[in-house]
Symmetry: C2
Subunit: 111 residues, 2 copies
């Protein structure tokens, strides 16, 4: 039976042009720790076809609770370690943040 996909989280990420390659490399080599979280269904990383638009990290969950449990889990910290490290370094060196993210959540109401 196909898993339910009621809850969707979209992380809208704007990268500086010089950070894009690194950003794509981080997701291309992700640890897949999220895949083991209970209630996780699947995710896609979407690269915009128009320069300057945000990348979308779309994750599907069986329930909102499953998503919330993940965002406060050690796996969340571990999975974002390299990106968080890049942000910390930029701040320490007085450079602008290489990426900015904006999380929004949704319910699937039709297919």
């Amino acid at each position: 039976m196909e898993k339910q996909k009621n809850f969707v989280a979209v992380n809208y990420i704007n990268c500086t042009p010089e950070y894009q390659e690194r950003f794509e490399q981080l997701f291309g080599t992700r640890a897949h720790a999220i895949d083991l979280m209970p209630g996780f269904v699947d995710m896609q990383v979407l690269k915009p076809n128009t320069e300057g638009d945000a990348y979308l990290i779309v994750s599907h969950w069986e329930t909102e609770d499953a998503f919330k449990t993940w965002t406060s889990s050690p796996a969340f910290i571990e999975g974002h370690k390299r990106g968080f490290e890049d942000l910390r370094k930029a701040k320490e060196e007085g450079r602008p943040a290489p990426m900015k993210s904006d999380f929004k959540t949704y319910k699937v109401i039709a297919k």
Copy 2:
């Protein structure tokens, strides 16, 4: 074999508060004409959990060409008939547009 999902189109739709119920009803009773288009994989209609955020109509396609063929097909006009009619009526009656849409396209670069 699972179909490829390389190309993703996201239609960001902002509805006026009074149009939301009608908008959801239109998608809840959609004709599914798009489902028969060659290269169509699947779609989801996402309702924002935060009031005022856009609805997302996310469609997955095997290729960009398949998507473009659909947007210029009779099935596209037919599938959007009721929404287009609502927009036309509002314009005729001098009311503000009940919804505004913004199409963006993406490539899936990681899962």
